[in-house]
Symmetry: C2
Subunit: 148 residues, 2 copies
DNA sequence: CCCTAGTCGAGAATGATTATCATTTCAATT
DNA sequence: AATTGAAATGATAATCATTCTCGACTAGGG
């Protein structure tokens, strides 16, 4: 039983062939993917899990805390395997790369903001957007080329 | 020309009867509302703007920076009139109340996180969740009553 | 008043997500 | 190895928020 399969088992999800395929594809991608895209990728060549199963699996992973959701394109939801436990994200607007920021330095601010307004703090959420090294490198390259 | 109408005009949107009605309803609500809910509210008794117009208007307001979007329920989008300019939100999980946090104390953290990983910072986003005074008061009251 | 770009809105179309439900697979037990 | 009740799957239909279409209507400058 490989890495992914045991991860599913620990979360109380039977590591079926289909679920394992979905979770593996998700892990292989490393960045948020929609259920639709995942299904397309899994059935392009070989026959793969049905669309309904892909939806059920990514939702189960999210409920188990093994995946997070990201708003994609229009109103769609993209999923990405994530470390359980509190952390934030650094997201590249160029290529969609997502990097986890494990240490939370936002908590004190959140607590202060809540207390100051009579709120009982429950949680907070924060994301940083930018261009990863590769993407900003390309942009810089393109700009130089145009100038030359 | 009232408050709302001139706000629309300044944003380059003709203050038609329909758009004004939508923006006024949005302002009256004070908390995020979906286009559907807004349309229902506007047409319950009197005849109001068409559904397509409600969608067009809230989207225009968002593009103009006069409204922000909040993920609602499942994958739907809710809109709320917001101050233009950078700020964060304190959101009550009980009643949906949204309070703006104008001063940004998150910027330094975002800049540091981005730089440390070779990202060119572009923006950041942060929200605090909890229970407003009213909602946590009710919860406390209910608990005491049960105990008594 | 006239004209034209901008708006409206009723209804059809789109497309992601969810629900059905008959069939298959799991995994634990005889 | 055979049995079995529960969980999972998937082809298909159903939902339902959002977007499109396009003919009719308006605002508002000249
Ligand atoms: Mn993560
Ligand atoms: Mn706001
Ligand atoms: Zn990138
Ligand atoms: Zn509240």
């Amino acid at each position: 039983m490989n890495e992914i399969a045991s991860m599913l088992a620990e979360a109380g999800l039977r590591p079926t062939r289909q679920r394992t395929a979905v979770a593996e594809a998700l892990a292989r991608s490393g960045r948020p993917v929609t259920a639709q895209a995942l299904h397309a990728r899994l059935t392009r060549s070989r026959p793969g899990p049905g669309l309904a199963t892909v939806y059920r699996t990514v939702q189960a992973l999210a409920e188990a805390g093994l995946a997070r959701t990201f708003p994609a394109g229009d109103g769609e939801l993209a999923y990405k395997l994530c470390d359980p436990g509190h952390h934030h994200h650094l997201i590249c607007e160029g290529c969609g790369l997502v990097i986890e920021i494990p240490s939370c330095e936002v908590e004190p601010w959140a607590a202060r903001a809540a207390r100051r307004r009579g709120f009982a703090l429950s949680s907070h959420q924060a994301e940083v957007f930018g261009l990863c090294a590769d993407c900003s490198g390309q942009a810089r390259g393109r700009r130089s080329a145009a100038r030359a």
